[in-house]
Each structure stands twice: as C-alpha cells, then as structure tokens.
Amino acid sequence: MKVVECKELTKRYGKAKAINNLSFELTENKITGLIGRNGAGKTTLLKMIAGYLHHTSGDIQVFSENPFNNLKVSANSIFIDNGMSFSPSLTLEELLETSGEFYPNWDQRLAKRLFDYFSFNPLQSHVNLSKGMKSTFNMIIGLAARCPLTIFDEPTSGMDAGTRKDFYRALLKDYIAHPRTIILSSHLLSEVEDILEEILLIKNGEKLLHMPIEILKEYSIGISGKATAVSEWTSNKETIFTQSIGVDGSYVVIKNDCSLRDLEIARDIGLEVSSVSAEDVCTYLTSKTKEGIDHVFN
C-alpha cells in the first residue's frame, strides 16, 4: 500500500521554491531516510506530508487523501520535531499521560520505561528541559504513539552520542515489533544508514534519488592514482566529484556503471579502486561544485 504519494509537488514561499516538482511514493512499513543539506526543503516536505502546510501546485496524497486539515491523516500520523510545544502548566509526567489520550495505539508502558531509562524528573516542566532532553522527550512521544505514519524531523539534534545510539536502537526494536511507516530526516546519514531501508535525497527542493540504501552504497566508486591516468580512464564516465592529491595525483568519484573488464583495466594501469560510503555519495551529489569547498580557496 502506498502511504505517501507526491506528484509534481511544488511549494513556494513567495517567489522562492522550497519544493520543486517533486514526485515519489512511499510504501507501507518501510523506514525511509529523507536526506539533504541545510535548506534543501526537508522540513517543508515533511510538514506538507503531516498536513501542517498547504502545497502550491501538484498533488500530495497521504493514506490516499489530501493531508491538509485532514482528520484521517491527523489520527494516523505523528510529526516529531524540536519545535513541539507543550502546555507549560503540565509536568512531564502529566504530559506523557495526556499524550496517550490522543493516540489509539499509545503504549504507556513503553513511554514510562523510556522516560525512566533516560532519567527524566516527572515533576519537571518541558520548557525547562535542555535541547537534548527536549529532543529525547519528544522522541519518547513519537515512539510510544506507534502511529501508522511516524515522522521524525531531525530527531537527534542536541542529543549526546549515547542517547542518539539508544534512540536509533529503540526505534529499530519497536519497528521490528510493530512495523509501521517511518520517515526520518537527517543530515547525518552515516548515523542512520544502517536502520534505513530506503533513502530519498533532495537538493534545492528537487529529488536527486530515491532508492534502497544498499543500492546507493554501490552507486559510485572512487578512483585514485596519477592524474593523467585517472582523467583518461574516467573520460567517458559520469564524474561526481574530483579532488587533486599531491603533485600529480587525483581522486575521482564516478557513477558505478562500469563493467568488471573496465575495472580490471583500471587496476592494471595502476589505478586504485575503492568503494564510496553512502554519506560521501550524498555529500558529493548535493555539493555546489564538483570540487566542493576547495573551489572557494582556489
């Protein structure tokens, strides 16, 4: 079943296009990572899916309905980000109990156990929490709600390394026990890639790619060696990133559509072939120029 379906979706803020002609589908019960640089349009897209924002043109369907102001979508989804505000007159413990009343699948036992594990003070107020503790508390709500569509927008911002790890493990364990559609936005792909099934990479509001994460890891390869040899061998291939190393060396990342024979030739003329991590591929694909930040200093 398709949970989210966007066709030529566009969102403008004034003249600026935050989301531009975006088409994709998310099927049921997968964990999808929404990846993009700062300002790529991740939050705008997620807020449209959650029904918080109108789209400008194109079509967006969540559970086969237009999500904006939609009861079905609201009842079946939850949107977690660090801008969530809660009533200051309630304590954390009261907030946890009240939250349960909004979500039919709410697991109070899980909520309470996570709450205790992360050593929250039941009598404290949400506004007085540190940034990381706020994120952690919001995450507990997002997990315990067990909504068929669960959206986390940069859930780990402000969390320390240990809490991040705990969060991703908790998310995975609860997902295995209670499969549901999860969208997770992040700019730290290396941190989330292992638990993702699919990745949706956007740049300037446009889709760059949408594919299973395992395929992305084989999407490109790195070639290094003498600059002349590298540039000759890569001349008929799609270059994603280039960097010069030392006096006459260079490192080039190309799209991995070469045959085994091609790679053998590369090896034989002394080029080194290496794999490129998913995070690096995404960084190269979303960078402004093919040389990256080095371009500024040249």
Partner: protein
C-alpha cells in the same frame, strides 16, 4: 550495469567497506562452518538478525537471500530458512574460489611490485601457514 552483490567485495577488496548484507551472509556462513548452526537446523530470522546487528530487517533479509540463492539455505514454507545438507561444501568451495583466490592475486601483485621472488614468497607463506595452524589449534 551496477556491480551488485557478491562481485562487489571482489572488486573493492576492502573488508571494512563490504555491504552490510554481505557481512550478514558471511557471518551466517561462519556460524555454519563452525557448526553453531547444523544441517537442517533453522537459521536466524531476518528480524533476529536485524536486532543482533542493529540493521534494517530488509537488509538482513538480503543477506539471507544470498545464501538461499546459493543453496546454502532452503526454505520451509511458513517455518523459515534451514541449513542445507551440502551447505558446508558450498561455502568452502565458494570461499576458496572467490575470497582466497582474490587474496592470493593481491599477494602475487604486491610481491611482484616489491621484487620478491617466487621461492621467497612461497617460503613466507609456508612458515606463516605452519605458525597459524599451530596458533589455531
């Protein structure tokens, strides 16, 4: 064409960069070789593997499917995946033909680059092989 699956580790030849599903299937192979999972015994489900390795269940399933395609595992409808009778031989044959062979190729290449003669190289292998055998026992 993308170079997918089993070929990748051959091409890339960089252990740490192996795709996770390949690492999962190799881990299962080692469990079978060590007889931690015996013939006709059930192997871990994709969900158990996902939890053990902290990875997406779909990735774990891909690791299991590699072994099913190679007839190391067989499926019992509704019950899960089981170790085939000939699993050990298949794994041993495969590792010899792919992993070991490509390692030897790298070795030969490095030896040539360093001007190490065949006899010297063989002697190195012989003595290390003896030593390792002793250590492993």
């Amino acid at each position: 064409m993308w170079c997918v699956g089993g070929d990748v580790r051959l091409i890339l030849n960089s252990d740490s960069m192996k795709p996770i599903y390949v690492q999962v299937s190799e881990w299962l192979e080692t469990e079978i070789l060590n007889e931690n999972i015996k013939c006709d015994e059930k192997v871990y489900s994709q969900y158990q593997l996902a939890e053990m390795f902290n990875i997406n269940p779909a990735t774990a399933a891909k690791g299991i499917n590699i072994l099913a395609d190679e007839n190391v595992l067989y499926k019992k409808r509704g019950l899960g995946m089981f170790v085939a009778t000939e699993a050990r031989e298949i794994i041993l044959r495969k590792r010899k033909n792919t992993k070991l062979r490509s390692m030897v190729k790298e070795l030969a290449k490095e030896a040539i680059q360093l001007n190490v003669e065949e006899e010297e190289l063989l002697e190195m292998i012989r003595s290390l092989h003896q030593q390792m055998k002793g250590d492993l026992k």
